[in-house]
């Protein structure tokens, strides 16, 4: 029963918002708040203030899997192992890229001799290389553009590698379209034959997660020379 006394009513609302009432009593108060404008307003004001209590907590960094789960559940994304990294179209592209890589790299890239190379291509466009990767024997990685790309000002192009499938992709930083980039061995972390590299289009400043969230622009796989 909802009390008649004004002060008692106000306290009941404060208790309800705090979650102190459960079951049928909570349902009864909820119905009352929906019907009584003044009571509903006070409940909303309490809720606004309690957000401040949540803000007093130090934030906890959500693991990347949490966003993946949310995106999957809402239909906004597929799990990463079913995305660009592993789709049939991409693997076809990657295979074709291997052939193009050999053709592109014979000769001019012998000084200093790279030990690995990869040609990154747009998914589904196996005859159009977009970027070339070379990795020196010291492990430094050079990313060279083969096309000029233009993207919206509020987007960034991010470079990723996938060395071990169970650990997921690792960011190698942001890339400026049309400009070469050298990444030192210490950041590259070692390259193996077959290692995947990709460039994705992300929100400005890079992916908010520690994995790609935007579409794959170019993708390719390292080949030992």
């Amino acid at each position: 029963m909802i009390p008649q006394d004004h002060e008692e009513r106000r306290l009941l609302i404060a208790e309800y918002v705090l979650g102190l009432h459960r079951g049928e009593r909570a349902a009864e108060i909820k119905r009352w708040l929906a019907e009584d404008d003044e009571a509903g307003r006070l409940a909303r004001r309490w809720r606004e203030h309690w957000v401040g209590a949540a803000d007093l907590l130090p934030p906890a960094r959500p693991p990347a899997r949490l966003w993946r789960r949310v995106a999957w559940e809402t239909g906004l994304a597929r799990p990463w192992w079913r995305s660009g990294w592993a789709s049939v179209a991409v693997w076809r592209t990657v295979s074709a890229a291997l052939l193009v890589a050999v053709v592109l790299l014979v000769g001019p890239l012998r000084q200093p001799a790279p030990v690995y190379t990869a040609v990154l291509q747009a998914p589904g466009e196996s005859a159009r290389p977009g970027w070339r990767i070379t990795v020196s024997d010291a492990g430094d990685l050079r990313l060279t553009p083969l096309v000029k790309g233009q993207y919206a000002a509020d987007r960034s192009v991010q470079f990723w590698t996938l060395a071990e499938a169970d650990k997921g992709p690792r960011s190698l930083g942001l890339v400026e379209p049309g400009r070469s980039l050298v990444i030192p061995a210490s950041r590259v972390g070692g390259v193996e034959s077959g290692q995947l590299f990709e460039l994705t289009l992300e929100p400005e400043g890079g992916s908010p997660e520690d994995r790609p969230t935007g579409p794959v622009l170019f993708i390719g796989r390292a080949v030992a020379l």
Partner: protein, 184 residues
């Protein structure tokens, strides 16, 4: 417009964009709010997996029901946190288990938050903090146990080994004090 108001308005704008199916807005909303929501859920459940489940369900619910958000009925942030707490309370009731982390105000009134911490808090948060700090510990603590741990009067009484009637009286006195301090 102060930072607090900007934060609220940003949340409202993102929620309205979500209602229009804007995926980027949804991801941005997640990036901004998930860290604090996860912190609250962890405090509530004392368990990472259960906390993640609650945050996940809340965001899924938000995406599916964003069209129901009405600015005039409160801020998007208040809606988000209400959904999360509702979900956590239900989860707790179904599981029948109560595990949680310590209260953020366990060490109040001393040591007080540093001037740097205080300067980072929005005006509204500072008001709430000041009002909470103004309460006697025996009144503040059960209120915080209700908010951060989702405990009922009976559960608080049991945890503090104090009769339920006494806890109820302390909570209601504390809420009355908060009501006056916050000018509600």
């Amino acid at each position: 417009m102060d930072d607090d108001q900007q934060h609220l308005e940003q949340g409202n704008a993102l929620m309205l964009a979500c209602a229009g199916g804007d995926r980027d807005a949804f991801q941005r909303l997640y990036s901004i709010e998930a860290p604090r929501m996860l912190a609250l859920a962890r405090r509530f459940t004392g368990e990472q997996a259960a906390a993640e489940d609650a945050v996940q369900d809340t965001f899924v619910q938000v995406w599916r029901n964003a069209h129901r958000f009405r600015r005039e009925r409160g801020s998007a942030r208040a809606w988000l946190y209400s959904l999360l707490r509702y979900r956590l309370i239900n989860q707790q009731r179904r599981g029948g288990q109560i595990g949680h982390q310590g209260l953020p105000g366990d060490d109040w009134p001393d040591p007080a938050p540093s001037p740097e911490q205080c300067s980072l808090l929005a005006d509204r948060d500072r008001r709430l903090l000041d009002c909470l700090r103004g309460l006697r510990g025996e009144r503040r603590r059960p209120i915080l146990m209700a908010f951060y741990h989702g405990l009922t009067y009976e559960q608080i009484a049991e945890a503090l080994a104090v009769p339920a009637g006494t806890i109820k009286s302390r909570v209601r006195s504390g809420l009355k004090g908060l009501q006056e301090c916050l000018r509600l």
